[in-house]
């Protein structure tokens, strides 16, 4: 649409201004956190008067934060492969099967995203207590996998729907069985979806708090949980430094996702 009368022009300006303001609103936390992280004071000022990295030093030299980092990273390396495995398999199966009630199963697989996390949290707490391993790393693993793998299901689902099923048919025509076909033909072609899903799941696990807060113990405090405790109890400004690290991680993650399958298709 290139035709613009005065009224149209005003309308355009209005829309773009409002839209941009909304994006500004979305970005405020990031700006605030960056400001805080590099400010020498506990509370940042605007405009900023000086620049300091003392909070980063504090984080790195604090054994508690380092322990939490260790836990979060270990979790990451266990949870991500699991979610990728479960999610990819489920997503592919759902795309290739058709049966009565398939929609219900699909909803079931994606349901962890829709159930209020407070409910999920206490349900898991109860289950793990009954099974005897609440407070262990495995409790956290299970919790993170439950809310992480639906993301993989979704992103792999996008890749699979872009995959021409006739490629698999061709492969089987040439004598390869379904397993071989899956590994030789399907998997390489849905790699983008898997990578994007893995990244989403990893970042979600890294930042997960709603369930972790319920099922963690003093031995398994992840970074988000420790952040929460600090904010609640002490207000240690080194939280700012952690936040900046999170933001950097999320932007890198986004770039990876954009490079692999393109953000527009993921959500």
């Amino acid at each position: 649409m290139r035709k613009k009368s005065i009224g149209d022009r005003l309308l355009s300006i209005l829309i773009w201004t409002t839209g941009s303001l909304v994006y500004l609103f979305l970005t405020i936390p990031v700006l605030v956190i960056v400001l805080s992280a590099f400010s020498p004071n506990a509370f940042p000022e605007f405009p900023p008067t000086s620049f300091s990295v003392r909070w980063f030093h504090e984080v790195v030299s604090n054994p508690e934060w380092m322990e939490s980092l260790r836990i979060s990273v270990i979790l990451l390396f266990i949870v991500t492969p699991l979610t990728v495995l479960l999610g990819t398999m489920a997503s592919y199966a759902l795309a290739r099967l058709s049966f009565k009630g398939k929609e219900a199963v699909q909803a079931f697989i994606l349901s962890p995203l829709m159930i209020p996390q407070v409910v999920l949290g206490i349900a898991m707490l109860y289950l793990f207590t009954a099974m005897g391993f609440t407070g262990t790393l495995w409790a956290l693993v299970i919790g993170h996998v439950i809310i992480g793998f639906p993301y993989v299901v979704r992103t792999v689902g996008v890749s699979v729907s872009n995959l021409d099923p006739r490629l698999e048919l061709a492969s089987m025509n040439l004598g390869a069985g379904p397993i071989r076909t899956f590994f030789r033909v399907t998997l390489p072609l849905i790699k983008p979806g898997i990578i994007a899903g893995g990244v989403f799941s990893a970042v979600t696990s890294f930042g997960e708090i709603s369930i972790s807060l319920f099922v963690s113990s003093p031995q398994t405090i992840t970074i988000p949980v420790r952040t929460f405790n600090y904010i609640e109890q002490t207000f240690d400004p080194s939280v700012n430094a952690i936040s900046v690290i999170f933001i950097i991680i999320s932007i890198i993650a986004l770039l990876i996702i954009e490079k692999t399958i393109g953000l527009s298709k993921v959500m």
Partner: protein
């Protein structure tokens, strides 16, 4: 009801020039086709007429009014799109009534006009249906009814039949022509299908590389193409290079040898530019095949048959010459037995069937 007049329309998209100094006039009540290959700028031109694009240069007149600066909703144009663009959330009735509701017409008047429009396309019974319940052809007819309901000055159609299958397309072409004659509205059709353009239009405008290559009636454009582009785009054609021979005051075609062994000679008409080189065209259906040598024929050439295709009502033969080949279309009835590949065949044509092509672009 108005005519359309375009003056020196140019459209630039950054570095790319989509339309280069296009001027044309469409007469009131005329069915005019804009014909050209994909990417030649014809849809761009239609969008400019409809008001969806502001031309980089030039003026658009609808009737006597300069509408160049007017947005689409202030022009009285009705547009039909290739994808039908029916509002999926409205019934057929509401789709057709849409423009009338915008004009704030009274309910009774709207109903009358909508049913009138629908009867033009014979879809009155479908008024309560939703677009997704209709077939492609039916959707297209609703799109036409919707555009006509607002009684526009001009009807613009952007490749409206491209999404239909061949048979349906033919039927819709006839219907379109009938509706247009019925209503008498100035119509501009954009298409890349030259058969469609030739069969439906009063006049055809051929666009190539952003310029008008020729405007004329279907007959003119087919029989007297201005240049190679037009000749090759419309129908099938044989094209030769001719060289002017001062001594003989005639053109010879170096690559085509007469049956008597000499180079083919063509008498040049008095006004014909005596250029060094000239392009000639010869339509395949103007060539006849004879199995015996008939010396009397003025243009008589022999060659070896390299391909035969039987299309039912006609044959397409490719005859290999000393240099190059000639395509011949002849009717089925001329051949009690089909000729075989590898046979020597003799072909001939009338001298007046040869058309000299200018290399000029015409507006």
């Amino acid at each position: 009801m108005s005519g359309i007049h375009l003056e020196h329309i140019s459209q630039h998209f950054g570095e790319q020039i989509a339309l280069n100094d296009v001027s044309l006039t469409v007469n009131e009540g005329e069915f005019f086709s804009l014909l050209g290959p994909s990417g030649c700028g014809k849809s761009t031109l239609l969008n400019i007429i409809g008001g969806f694009l502001e031309p980089t240069k030039g003026v658009v007149y609808i009737g006597d009014q300069d509408v160049t600066a007017l947005p689409p909703y202030q022009r009285k144009t009705g547009m039909v799109f290739q994808s039908y663009a029916l509002f999926p959330h409205l019934t057929v009735f509401d789709n057709v009534a849409y423009g009338l509701k915008v004009q704030k017409k009274k309910k009774a008047e709207i109903k009358e006009k909508v049913m009138e429009s629908l009867s033009l396309v014979q879809l009155e019974a479908f008024a309560k249906r939703m677009p997704h319940q209709l077939s492609g052809g039916q959707q297209q007819r609703v799109a036409i009814a919707r555009a006509l309901a607002i009684q526009p000055s001009v009807l613009l159609l952007d490749e409206p039949l491209s999404n239909l299958d061949a048979k349906l397309r033919k039927n819709m072409q006839t219907e379109l022509r009938n509706i247009q004659r019925n209503v008498g509205i100035t119509t501009i059709l954009v298409t890349h299908d030259q058969e469609e353009a030739l069969s439906l239009s009063d006049r055809v405008g051929i666009l190539g590389e952003g310029r008008i290559q020729q405007i004329g009636t279907p007959l003119e454009v087919y029989r007297q193409p201005n240049n190679r582009f037009v000749a090759e785009f419309i129908g099938q054609v044989n094209i030769f290079e001719a060289v002017y021979n001062e001594a003989d005051a005639a053109f010879t075609v170096p690559h085509v040898t007469h049956s008597n062994g000499q180079h083919l000679q063509l008498q040049a008409a008095a006004h014909q530019e005596k250029r060094e080189k000239q392009l000639l065209m010869l339509r395949p259906e103007r060539i006849s095949i004879s199995s015996e040598r008939e010396e009397v024929k003025p243009n008589h050439v022999s060659g070896v048959l390299s391909d035969v295709s039987y299309i039912g009502h006609s044959l397409r033969l490719v005859v290999g010459l000393d240099h190059g080949e000639i395509i011949v279309h002849d009717s089925d009835t001329a051949f009690p037995e089909l000729p075989k590949v590898g046979e020597t065949v003799h072909i001939h044509w009338q001298p007046e069937d040869i058309v000299f092509l200018d290399s000029k672009v015409h507006t």
